[in-house]
């Protein structure tokens, strides 16, 4: 599992990446009440807005950690958006991405580096 500085994670197996947001991100947003998922089949570029998380106090964009094609979305979130809070790095995943450029992943952070990054920014992960 690798992280972005904008608090997304991606877990890649056989060129397919599962994408979600970090535990830190869900905690900062508070209770998630709605997840706007991308359309299956849509092509996204690394860093492009791919989903929106809406909590009781904010609506935040989720940026794709890599380029590729959306091949599946977590439809369970339509009924249970709170999974993003209770299991942000597990059942609360957002979408699956068929990667078009696996090389892009090298620029991402591992968990340790991501958490160190948070600490440097003055947050306790």
């Amino acid at each position: 599992m690798r992280f972005t500085e904008t608090h997304e994670w991606i877990d890649v197996k056989e060129n397919v990446g599962v994408v979600g947001v970090s535990a830190f991100a869900q905690k900062e947003l508070g209770d998630i009440v709605y997840v706007e998922l991308p359309k299956v089949g849509r092509e996204v570029k690394k860093g492009q807005e791919a989903a929106v998380l809406e909590s009781t106090k904010a609506a935040a964009d989720v940026y794709s950690p890599a380029s590729g094609k959306i091949i599946e979305v977590n439809a369970t979130l339509n009924q249970k958006p709170e999974l993003v809070n209770t299991s942000s790095e597990g059942e609360g995943w957002l979408f699956k991405l068929q990667l078009s450029d696996p090389q892009e992943l090298t620029g991402l952070l591992d968990k340790q580096a991501y958490q160190a990054n948070l600490k440097d920014s003055g947050f306790s992960p």
Binding site: V33, Y34, E36, K39, R42, E54, S55, T56, K57, A58, A59, D61
Partner: protein
């Protein structure tokens, strides 16, 4: 905070502190020709003289001495006295920022009831707390549809939509690079359905149709809705809200979003505003709907209460990504229309709409019998229709105005192909006697020919 102007001593103290000898010296660097000359001073008028002066000026406006058949988007209706009584209560009239989360429970409840009334009227699932006016409501509906389907960038709009509304929509979409296709109309003013269906494709984000059209025509929208649905496009219907008292609801004709100006229900003409837009939609579109929504809830003690809801997409939180950056809601105007709707009630609105239709039908039918008069066509109508007396607009206007009647709108100004046509609106404010006078004056005009 009191306003206390500077006294001479204070002015001098300040001048001394900055080292200027006088006010003139302080402003010496401003060229003489840019300086404001000393205002003319006199003793002014006494209160009673002032009233006389203003009454003289106001009397130059002879508007109210005419029997007016102008409509074209703004309609003269009788306003039940209860509307003014409720709206002038200071709790509503001077309520502090009725668009903020801390709005009073009374204001929130009134807005909630307004939303419920709009839903009942249009048949849609959910309504917002109102928008700026009918034209911006149309534009916001287009933006909403474009947000809903980000990969599409084309809208199809009836050419018989109010031309002012269209120009606002065009302005809103100009920075989106959206392709706007327009549905033509036939000679009788009704939409060309075959062309409409041909224009709607899988790139079409939304279809915007008027109900009734600028020419007063009730088009068959249902069939066009079916085509829109098949292409995955959203159907937006812009309606005079009173039409729903008589004709099928927005939901029944296949609308996904219902918009319009609420003015005919409870708002005076006021020389053009403030009016108030309404917008209602299907439940699954609610998160793309602009503006605020008041929801019903229970408080910590289990009591019924009202609260602004779904706010996370509004501009104070989402800034440039907000669903709209004009969240203006016309709270007081919406209240006026709510009081009007409640006063008439379900049955009363039906009767009011029917009266509008019947009086329009009477005038239209009788005028149509006069030799030389040409009706635009035989398409279904509501409370407005177009006809030609066979005279240039100016001649007909002179004849009618001379006899105290403003006969309608000069349609040629907006649609050159209908040069010489008048757009005539008839509401419940026109008695049979008035209508017969119109017919009499018209027949005199035709005899002159």
């Amino acid at each position: 905070m009191d306003f206390i102007s500077n006294q001479k001593a204070q002015v001098n103290a300040m001048l001394e502190a900055i080292g200027a000898g006088s006010i003139e010296e302080l402003f010496a660097s401003i060229p003489q020709n840019l300086k404001h000359r000393a205002p003319h001073r006199d003793d002014g008028l006494s209160e009673s003289e002032g009233v006389i002066l203003m009454e003289e000026i106001a009397a130059k406006n002879t508007f109210s001495s005419y029997e007016s058949y102008l409509g074209a988007g703004a309609y003269e209706h009788y306003l039940p006295a209860v509307i003014g009584f409720i709206c002038s209560k200071s709790e509503f009239l001077t309520a502090y920022t009725p668009y903020q989360p801390e709005a009073s429970q009374g204001m929130l409840q009134a807005t909630f009831e307004f939303q419920s009334a709009i839903c009942a009227l249009t048949g849609m699932d959910v309504s917002n707390a109102s928008l700026y006016d009918g034209a911006t409501a149309c534009a916001e509906a287009m933006l909403m549809a474009l947000r809903y389907q980000k990969e599409r960038n084309k809208v199809v709009i009836a050419s018989s939509l109010h031309p002012h509304y269209f120009s606002v929509v065009k302005q809103f979409l100009s920075s989106h690079g959206t392709l706007i296709e327009r549905i033509p109309f036939d000679k009788d003013g009704s939409l060309d359905r075959a062309k409409a269906e041909a224009l709607i494709d899988d790139q079409t984000s939304a279809v915007l149709l008027p109900y009734p059209s600028f020419f007063g025509v009730i088009d068959e929208i249902k069939q066009i809705s079916a085509k829109a649905k098949a292409c995955g496009s959203l159907m937006v219907v812009c309606a005079n809200p009173l039409v729903y008292g008589l004709y099928a609801s927005a939901e029944e004709i296949g609308a996904d979003i219902a918009v319009g100006d609420i003015q005919p229900l409870g708002l005076p003409l006021q020389f053009g505003g403030p009016y108030c837009g309404y917008m209602a939609c299907r439940q699954d579109l609610v998160r793309q709907m602009p503006g605020r929504i008041v929801g019903e809830t229970i408080d910590a003690e289990g009591k019924r209460g009202f609260v602004l809801t779904l706010q996370a997409r509004e501009q104070h939180i989402r800034r440039e990504k907000a669903t709209s950056n004009i969240c203006t809601n016309q709270a007081l105007a919406a209240l006026a229309s709510l009081v009007c709707m409640l006063w008439y009630g379900r049955q009363g609105l039906r009767e009011l709409a029917l009266t509008n239709y019947q009086r329009t039908a009477y005038l239209r039918h009788r005028l149509g019998q006069l030799p030389g008069v040409v009706l635009m066509g035989n398409a279904p109508f509501f409370n407005e229709f177009a006809l030609s007396f066979g005279y240039s607009g100016a001649e007909a206007f002179e004849h009618f105005r001379h006899r105290g009647i403003e006969p309608g709108l000069d349609l040629g100004k907006y649609y050159p192909e209908f040069n010489g046509y008048l757009l005539v609106a008839v509401t419940e404010t026109k008695t049979k006697g008035m209508l017969d006078r119109y017919i009499q004056v018209a027949s005199e005009l035709m005899v002159r020919k």
